[in-house]
């Protein structure tokens, strides 16, 4: 199984961000760390030993480094005590430039973290300001260099395309600057306006301030082309990696590997159920910071949903097809005891005709074409 740990704190909220994150004082952060360890310990006590074997650990946010390297390692030690961390386990920490120094990075590396994911988003300072980021491109260069110095040999860099006012040239420049650093992994998303964010409010009625769809797609297609030339393969809609450096943790989501999410608002997928922690910080703290931590209310979940057979089959498709390699026909039969074409034949034939999907029966794969990736939602909803 996989373990996700959510750290919902940031120095400041970015203007496009709608993830669960907030600013908090030191006391709250310390209380949160304690509560988090309470929650982890609870699962350690209540899960069967054979189920407590971790393939990956992922600290996500927010900005995990906001609680400090020491606290992160503290939590990791707690995890090691409560779970069995497998040899070669991928342990990732997300971070933003200007939230950690060289010492901190060394501490993380020493403590067992073996992968970093750095939120850069753009190599242009004016774009970073527009996004409401707290750092400059130079801050990023510094943290990236220090990370290499500390011994990290598996680093992801996040980029966002289709920013307000951004030209294809601007974006290409950011991309190339990042490529020159030779990170092992690059995530390249195009900007999405999420309701409730300042960006949404500013741009939803002014689409003319954003790059048009043609430009957006040009950037997106350029990413694939340029990165391929540099030895990166697209293995998922928005993720690119040097061979062997695909994110194990994120791939687990698409492959429907069970995962436990701990921390505020974290999502889990265990024993065929999807559930999600509540998002009220005060309640979370009250629930988990008690020493015994044994009294756990079922209403701590915001969502709790047992998947039906049909849900599982649909997930198999719309999660699996996010990956470039697509889904396995035999794998489907192994999971559900039914032929993929018996269940989705009509949809698959239609999608293939529309040029969105390819079927390679000999190679045992069904996967999206590049255009299929562009309009993946259109494809995925067919399986619901």
């Amino acid at each position: 199984m996989e373990l996700y740990i959510h750290i919902p704190f940031c120095v400041r909220k970015c203007k496009y961000c709608d993830f669960l994150s907030m600013t908090a004082d030191e006391e709250t952060r310390e209380r949160y760390v304690k509560a988090l360890m309470g929650e982890i310990a609870y699962y350690g006590r209540h899960m069967e030993k054979k189920d407590r074997i971790l393939e990956t650990v992922y600290f996500g946010g927010g900005t995990p480094t906001v609680i400090g390297a020491r606290n992160l390692i503290h939590i990791l030690d707690c995890i090691k005590k409560c779970f069995q961390v497998k040899d070669g386990c991928e342990i990732t920490v997300e971070l933003n430039p200007a939230t950690i120094d060289g010492e901190g990075l060394k501490e993380l590396h020493k403590g067992g973290v073996n992968r970093l994911s750095i939120g850069l988003q753009s190599a242009h300072n004016e774009e970073l300001r527009l996004l409401g980021r707290i750092h400059s491109y130079e801050d990023f260069l510094e943290v990236f260099g220090k990370a290499r110095e500390a011994g990290f040999d598996n680093i992801n860099v996040d980029l966002i395309s289709a920013l307000p006012g951004q030209s294809v040239g601007d974006y290409q420049d950011s991309l190339q600057k990042v490529m020159r650093l030779k990170p092992e992994h690059i995530s390249a998303y195009s900007l999405i306006l999420e309701e409730g964010t300042p960006f949404y409010n500013t741009y939803v009625n002014h689409p003319e301030l954003l790059p048009d769809e043609e430009t957006d797609r040009e950037m997106y297609h350029l990413t694939k082309k340029v990165l391929k030339e540099a030895g990166y393969e697209r293995y998922e809609i928005s993720n690119y990696a040097k061979p062997g450096f695909e994110s194990k943790h994120n791939s687990g989501y698409w492959k429907r590997v069970p995962y436990l999410g701990t921390g505020l608002g974290a999502s889990s997928f265990m024993e065929g159920k999807r559930f999600k922690n509540g998002t009220n910080l005060k309640e979370y703290l009250q629930n988990w910071e008690k020493e015994d931590g044994n009294i756990v209310h079922e209403d701590r979940f915001d969502e709790f949903y047992a998947l039906s057979r049909q849900d599982e089959m649909a997930e198999y498709m719309y999660l699996g097809l996010r990956m470039s390699r697509g889904v396995s026909i035999k794998g489907f039969f192994k999971c559900f005891g039914k032929g993929l074409f018996d269940i989705y034949g009509r949809e698959l034939i239609k999608l293939e005709k529309e040029g969105l999907l390819l079927v390679d029966e000999e190679g045992d794969r069904v996967y999206l074409t590049d255009f299929g990736m562009d309009v993946s939602n259109y494809v995925f909803e067919r399986f619901l």
């Binding site: 797609r217 997106y220 809609i237 999502s267």
Partner: protein, 605 residues
């Protein structure tokens, strides 16, 4: 039963322009007469349909009988017959007026006489009613009661100097109104011992009692057991119950006699048998001839109504059946559309009537409807001499078989302040109006007369009129007849396929403009597909306008943080749900809103 004394009965109605306070005054009269305490009064007692109350207009005539103890010490029986307040229901209004002996004219002290004031008061005078005016809303700062009195005398020519000055809203001056009802409205006449003749001015279907006939006894008597006959429809039945109208309830009594207003039930199953305007008589002792003024009401406006969910077709049929029990002017017959599946072609008195039925179907019967553009009835004269009454554009014969076509024309009166005369005349020209004349009511206001094709005013004329006169213009019309016209059928093609539900008949001079606007509108309504979609407007196979919905290039949600798959699934489900509500035409999905959007093409403000 109280004693029957014709001289103590007053049968009257209230006429007014919309919003001048007719219903509010009715409420106050009922309240002051003491039948109801203030606490029991719901606002606007007479408008009892939920919809009526929301829209602030009276859709179906309501009637109430009240007892008033006058200053002369005598008790009078008032039958207040409330009339519908919209031009769509002119015939119903005329029958309600025929049941009265007098009318109260309510005029707003600030706004003075409006188009409907005139139309309604002339209608009342045509029925030989004694009309006395009441000036309402005198507590408004902008009230000018003296100016309005002069205006009433000058324009309508009825005495107005002693008109009660009232505020129906605040209950000021209501006593004066009650006293003037006694003084100025004549008692009914009619011989209770003559053969029965009673005028039907409304009817209502009740699931226990069957049809309840609202009527005014002109001559004779009726009681339980009387064998009655409707002279126009020929239906006959034995009376089960007679009575009069309490506020919101039916109060049985032994007998109705000449001069009285009340109801009759006789286990009649369908309101079609008890048409408004028909005469009720006694089978055993019939009157010589029916009361004058009966006519069959014809639908003026037609549209297609389809359930959004095809499986709800039987529900829609049942709902229409039920509504028709109470609304003899609603017509419907099944039809099929390639685009919309099974539905009904429905006929209405006018656009308001259409909207009311549509809203009632959606609200009271929980149906989600797709409505096609409303149209009028065209007369298609074929070369073989046959004449077709066309209610559905899709049924237009091949142009080669058509000799000529006719469309309904109305004469209309538009009351407008002088500063807007120009823009209103311009609007009427655009709508193919023929100018008939103009009269100045006073220095600042004029009455414009135009002949207009009905199909030019059923969509959005009223809205356009209001927006171009900042809300000041008022409007009334009546059907004049049919005139020959150069009409064409405008077809809409989506991805080269004709969409029958979007076709409509239009004058050839407006075809290009309407076609262009339709294409523009549809371009915004139809979501992007994987391929480019041409939208074309065509007349007789010739394309006159075109727009293109560009192909979809992107439909992707890249981020998926912390494994929140449920959120992603919800987004996909929402997107899929949106598509479910669309109609598939060829390989194009068209949202239902597209079928309605064509109703609002006047974008000029």
């Amino acid at each position: 039963m109280q004693q029957y004394d014709q001289s103590k009965i007053r049968n009257f109605c209230i006429v007014a322009h919309i919003d001048h306070g007719k219903s509010t005054l009715a409420d106050r009269i009922i309240e002051k007469t003491g039948l109801l305490t203030s606490r029991e009064m719901q606002a606007q007692v007479l408008d009892n349909m939920e919809l009526e109350r929301e829209r602030g207009i009276t859709i179906k005539a309501q009637t109430v009988r009240i007892v008033y103890k006058a200053k002369d010490g005598e008790e009078y029986i008032f039958n207040l017959i409330d009339t519908p307040g919209h031009v769509d229901f002119n015939y119903e209004v005329s029958r309600a007026l025929a049941a009265c002996d007098g009318a109260i004219l309510v005029v707003d002290a600030a706004q003075g006489i409006e188009a409907q004031t005139l139309a309604n008061v002339y209608l009342a005078l045509d029925h030989d009613l004694d009309v006395f005016p009441v000036i309402n809303k005198i507590d408004l700062p902008s009230a000018e009661p003296d100016r309005v009195k002069d205006e009433i005398e000058d324009v309508i020519g009825i005495e107005a100097q002693d008109a009660p000055l009232i505020s129906a809203k605040n209950g000021i001056g209501i006593e004066d109104v009650l006293e003037q009802i006694v003084e100025k409205i004549p008692a009914p006449k009619g011989d209770p011992d003559a053969p029965l003749s009673a005028l039907i001015f409304d009817s209502l279907y009740d699931s226990y009692k069957g049809v309840i006939i609202f009527c005014r006894l002109m001559e004779g008597r009726v009681r339980k057991g009387t064998k009655i006959k409707m002279m126009a429809t020929g239906a006959s039945a034995e009376v089960v119950e007679v009575g009069y109208f309490g506020a919101g309830q039916f109060i049985p009594c032994e007998e109705l006699a000449a001069g009285m207003v009340g109801y009759i039930t006789a286990s009649i199953k369908n309101v079609k048998d008890t048409a408004v305007g028909d005469t009720v008589t006694d089978v055993d002792n019939p009157c010589e001839k029916p009361l004058p003024g009966y006519k069959k009401v014809n639908s003026m406006v037609y549209c297609g109504m389809y359930p959004a969910d095809g499986a709800k077709y039987p529900d829609l049929r049942d709902a229409l059946e039920k509504l028709q029990l109470n609304d003899a002017s609603l017509n419907y017959e099944p039809e099929t559309s390639v685009a919309l599946g099974f539905g009904f072609r429905c006929g209405f008195l006018g656009l308001l009537h259409l909207e009311i039925i549509q809203e009632r179907l959606e609200r009271e019967y929980n149906l989600d409807l797709v409505t096609t553009a409303p149209g009028v009835i065209y007369k298609v004269h074929k070369t073989n001499g046959e004449v077709i009454e066309l209610t559905n554009p899709s049924n237009l014969p091949d142009p080669a078989e058509i000799d000529y076509m006719e469309e309904p024309i109305v004469t209309s009166e538009i009351m407008v302040t002088t500063e807007f005369i120009g823009s209103i005349m311009e609007l009427c020209q655009e709508r193919r109006g023929v100018y008939l004349g103009m009269e100045y009511m006073e220095e600042t206001r004029a009455l414009l007369r135009y002949e207009l094709p009905l199909n030019e005013i059923i969509y959005d004329f009223f809205d356009a009129l209001k927006s171009r006169s900042r809300g000041y213009a008022s409007f009334d019309y009546e059907l004049k007849g049919y005139e020959q016209s150069e009409l064409v059928k405008l077809d809409i093609l989506i991805n080269k396929e004709e969409v029958d539900a979007l076709s409509f008949i239009v004058h050839k001079d407006s075809a290009y403009d309407r076609g262009r606007k339709m294409c523009e509108k549809l371009k915004d309504e139809i979501p992007r597909h994987l391929f480019e979609i041409p939208i074309q407007a065509a007349v007789g196979g010739k394309v006159i306008a075109r727009e293109t919905v560009k192909a979809m290039r992107k439909d992707v949600l890249a981020k998926c943080y912390g494994g929140d798959i449920t959120r992603k699934k919800k987004l996909l489900e929402k997107q899929k749900e949106g598509k479910k509500r669309m109609r598939q035409i060829g390989n194009v999905e068209i949202p239902q809103s597209a079928f309605m959007s064509v109703l609002k093409l006047d974008d000029r403000k």
